[in-house]
Amino acid sequence: METGKTGKIGKSGKIDKPTKGLSPGGTHPGGSLPGGAPQGGAPQGGAPQGGAPQGGAPVIELLGVTVRFGHRTALENITLSIPAGSQIAIIGPNGAGKSTLLRTMLGLIRPAAGVVRLFGLPPVKRRSAAAFIPQRETVDWSFPVTVRDVVMMGRIGHIGAIGLWLHPGPADREAVRRALDRLGLTPYAGRAISELSGGWQQRVFLARTLAQEAPLLLLDEPFNEIDAGTRQLLLELLDSFVAEGRSVLVATHDLELARERFRRVLLLNKKILADGRPEEIFQPKLLQEAFSGQVVTLESAGKTAIFVNKPPTSVGKHVEK
């Protein structure tokens, strides 16, 4: 894979020099990495070439990361290690910094303090190893592109985006064809994306991620505004991604989903309040604390029901079991 081809043109790269893995050399107050993450041992060996996760080297590492927007602190002292093959849900109340966390991991937001590593390098250098599906609102859905065009965008790491006479090769066409097929988009390949419904637009983005063949997938609220069929398909896709040894991080406010379908859950509210297996996270006390009274949990017959009450300013949504 040549995913790193365009990665080196990042405009910032200011965070610091590329080092192999994290080497907290006294400047960072966080000390050494926590061993708490499952199989997230100390980084060692070279940075993974071509983005393929190797051994136990973490895919993403954050050390003492703090993000501020003006005077507002969005994330505070986040330390985190994510090994290859992870399937992680990030949950937390509105404004907890879920999107910010994903964007910081990708280097789209620069932290005020702390170190971020993507495959052992500053994110601007390894971004193309990560496929990202942003929240729907950040994309111009009326833009004149066809479904196939969007999926082909996933191949720019392979084709290149800047230069004369760039044409997709047979491998690119094949990847796009497979991705379209996998998501049932083949009949609509020539359609304008503006003609599709929300769920099908999400499928187009998923197909683009498939075509990207990236070892890491970050999704920001992918379950919003999608139909049941797409939801099911998305969950199956995420499972198969992880089965192939790739890593998946999903920011979601769907607590039910986080509990049922993910192996690891991060409970976030500016800080990481808890990090572990779903059954460890879904404790009434923890949730109450994180959602500051927005969550009501009921326990009966060994099952816990979770109710989320959002403030009246946002759309109320409740999750129950």
Binding site: G4, K5, T6, G7, K8, I9, G10, K11, G70, R103, L106, G107, L108, V124, R127, S128, A130, A131, F132, P134, T138, V139, D140, F143, P144, V145, T146, D149, V150, M153, I156, G157, A161, I162, G163, L164, L166, G190, A192, R208
Partner: protein, 292 residues
């Protein structure tokens, strides 16, 4: 029949008219290609701002006997950077920054021009353009700019499409989004400078926006929009110059008016045309399905 041919060929017998046709088509073509991105990214206000903000550059260049193109381009760059800088402030949105900067620049331009002796003549010339006064030096400059812009499109076109559609994806894919953003701004400035001579700073926006908007109504992909946009702008330029010649009306305004006149029927009939094209494609697909 002969009369018809005479009607068409008569203006072309004049050197200044031949140059005017070339200039109008070149300028319109350049503006309509860049304008595709102006329309797709909803930057019409930015385009308007840039076109007005070049005025002080032109005025200063005129006074100091430098190339007015260089002056205008420089002023465009300053404006781009200035707006970018202002809008980084948390309490100023981008359109506010644009509003402040461009009116300021425009006023500065008028102040400078008002110190000239031939105040009203020069001002009118800058504001409304004069395609009939294009020199062959101007034409060479315009061709150079057109070449630069085409080259930039060949190099960055795909990246601009991706960046305009999904900026977060563009950035995570490692595209140099800062370079893409400012590169586009620079090209818009360049297109404005080129088109300014034909329609003037006040109406340059029409060349940037109207033909691509017309094309957008009909085409579903960026390359097709660009081609159609170029066709519409050329049509407007040619019709505008003929009307100007025979009806003795202002050439720049005539070109802009024709662009608008072309837009309107397309706006009204585009849904029907689109439906027709869709049905045609479906039919073709069905036929292909049978064969395959």
């Amino acid at each position: 029949m002969q009369e018809m041919i005479d009607l068409i060929s008569e203006p072309l017998s004049y050197e200044f008219m031949r140059r005017a046709f070339l200039a109008a088509i070149l300028a319109g073509g350049v503006a309509s290609l860049i304008g595709t991105f102006v329309v797709l990214r909803g930057m019409a206000f930015m385009g308007d701002a840039l076109s007005h903000a070049v005025l002080p550059g032109i005025a200063v260049a005129h006074l100091t006997r430098h190339s007015i193109y260089a002056g205008a381009f420089l002023a465009g760059l300053i404006t781009t950077m200035g707006i970018g800088y202002l809008s980084r402030h948390r309490r100023l949105s981008e359109d506010t920054a644009i509003g402040i900067f461009f009116t300021g620049m425009f006023a500065l331009g008028i102040v400078i021009i008002s110190t000239m002796q031939s105040y009203s003549i020069d001002l009118v010339h800058f504001l409304f353009g004069n395609v009939l006064a294009v020199t062959s030096d101007d034409l060479w400059l315009m061709s150079g700019a057109a070449f630069l812009i085409l080259l930039a499109f060949a190099l960055f076109g795909r990246a601009w499409v991706i960046y305009s559609f999904d900026p977060a994806f563009a950035e995570t894919s490692g595209l140099p989004v800062g370079l893409l953003h400012y590169g586009l701004m620079i090209l818009i400035s360049l297109a404005i400078v080129v088109a300014m001579q034909t329609v003037g700073v006040v109406m340059v926006l029409a060349m940037l926006v109207t033909p691509p908007a017309t094309a957008r109504l009909l085409a579903g992909r960026v390359p097709a929009i660009m081609v159609l946009s170029f066709i519409f702008s050329t049509l407007a330029a040619v019709l505008g110059l003929y009307s100007s010649y025979y009806m003795n009306i202002a050439s720049g305004a005539a070109i802009v008016l024709w662009a608008t006149i072309i837009f309107m029927p397309v706006f009204i009939f585009a849904p029907k045309v689109k439906l027709f094209v869709q049905q045609y494609h479906q039919l073709r697909q069905r036929c292909a399905g049978k064969v395959g």
